[in-house]
Amino acid sequence: MTRWGMAIDLDRCTGCEACVVACAAENNIQTVGEEQAREGRAMHWLRIERYYEGEFPDVRTRFMPVLCQQCGAAPCEPVCPVYATYRNPEGLNAMVYSRCIGTRFCANNCPYTVRVFNWFDAEFPAPLDSQLNPDVSVRPGGVMEKCTFCVQRIQAGKDEAAQEEREVADGDVKTACQQSCPTKAIAFGDLDDPDSEVSRWAESPRAFSLLGDLDTRPGVVYLSGTEWREPAE
């Protein structure tokens, strides 16, 4: 069975945010505008967190791309009253947009605060509407959303493999963030396949889980060779 997972090498991340842009373009993410963003309503599924260490002028910035960790024991799932978010057999925390009634309970219980909410109906004024990805539904207002691990690309990869009558091979599916990363800091693939790139990365002695002591069993693994201070400090 496939278990989709991602590994992010923080030592390679330059914080360029190409992944953030690619994610928004791929997944038809609403652009909310300056005013709404100021109110804390920017809708990025993937964000680069910046943490500063040291005193000026001796400052060091650390970057950390944070996206839905696709937890194996996801706190968001049991609290949803309508099963709008659930764990699918391939290890994804799936969102059923049409099922979501917008209690926002899942977002409150997410320790990574990666869920974003459609506060209003999405607007894609021309010419933005012509760049919408036809493989991804545009979410209505009042609905929760988050990183899907580019589930439409996973689906396309599986379709292609099926047409060629073979199994999905490692590297067949590339997420938008992975594809756009100039330093190749992101690996994506099947964590149950010991030979996949993501599995090899996850074996690294540099690997760790974000807020790992919560035992949410994330599907995203971070790699870092330098010592991290607790982000909340």
Binding site: G40, R41, P78, V79, R99, F105, G141, G142, V143, A232
Partner: protein, 464 residues
Amino acid sequence: MGRPQAGAKALDGELLGRLDRRRPGLLIGSLASGALVLVFFYCWGYQIANGIGVTGINRPVFWGFYIINFVFWIGISHAGTLISAILRVTKAEWRRPVTRSAEAITLFALAIGGLFPLIHLGRVTIFYYMIPYPNSRMLWPNFRSPLVWDIAAITTYIIGSALYLFLPLIPDAAVMRDRAAAGIKKRFYAVLALGWRGTAQQWHSLEWGIRILAVAIIPVAVSVHTIVSWDFAMTQTPGWKSTIFGPYFVVGAIFSGIAVLMIAMALLRRGLALERFLTDRVFNNLGLLFVTMSLVWGYFTFAEHLTVWYSGDLFEKNVHHVLLHGDFAVPFWTMVVVNLLIPVAVLSFPRGRRPLPTALVGCGVLVGMWLERFLIVVPALSTPRLAYSIGDYLPSWVELGIMIGAIGVFACLYFTFTQLLPIVSVWEMREGWRHAAGGGENGQAAEAAPTSAAASPVPGGGGA
């Protein structure tokens, strides 16, 4: 028929006479609160039309005023049913003038409290996805979610409270029916009276019905606010995941419930000139209960914060810090003052347990308990684990409008109820009068007969 009978009749007349006279104050109150009802529905409609984004909530503060008010109103609903049930079960005589007004508060506060989670939804038009109903897709709600428990608990409580308000109302509705001139009013009371004749059999059934409900409603009431607390405590959000939340919420609910009760009773006593029934003794007793709850609440608050502080857990301490010393320190310490220091300082003395001071303390406690809910919801959410997402929250005018409008809806319902039906239970007062006069346990049936149109010799009546 002895002296008690004559006294009882006079009592009936005195109580009901007040209801017949239309108090201009009540009417003005109805109209003023009616205007607020319009504000309520305008704001809600505006939100439905434009999207939930017209509120001030954001990421990470996904829950705001609506959830605060939900918890607040459900808390207030514990004024009635729970308190009146406890008083009935323990046969406290001074409950008699209090129970009806308390039960009405419960029902109306519950109705409003139950609306807030719906107002809060992103897509209120499909709220029924949370209800387990048979559907073609064979989809059930997620029974692991505390929100589904909420629905079950609140529905049970609202049905139970409605029954619990209605049952003791039947004999009084019959009295109103018999006094009303033929017309729409008489028909209205006739429907409510359910064909009450005041026979011994009917009294027997009624008494048993009330007894069973009074016992059954207590665990329901406790469960309701426990489950409301689990909306928070079942998560793993720092500041929320606490085992003390269940009992803490129940205590807070009873505390704020008594506060409303004190205010309502002081107003009723003034407005309907009920000094004879809502005596100083009643206020003294409720005042004692009030200060007890204040102390218990203070103890729970202390216990909650001490354990969090002592644990040294980094994320918990962040929330704790903004509460006690940070952005939320002013509301936090205000809450401590109005919920603990003032009630204890005032209510510890007999002179403080009179109508005016208790009502004023009650107003303070209402503010304090609202702040408590605010301090549970907002600081925890605005201080998430990953510091990058730390946020802020200010309500919008829509949220404020709905909050104030909800108070109007409550007042409107309450004023209307007071105008239509006896806000003091007439037959229970009469029963109390009898007990005081040393009548037998069997007295009810005989007493009730003369007030009913179908006055007939009652078998087993002890009053003759």
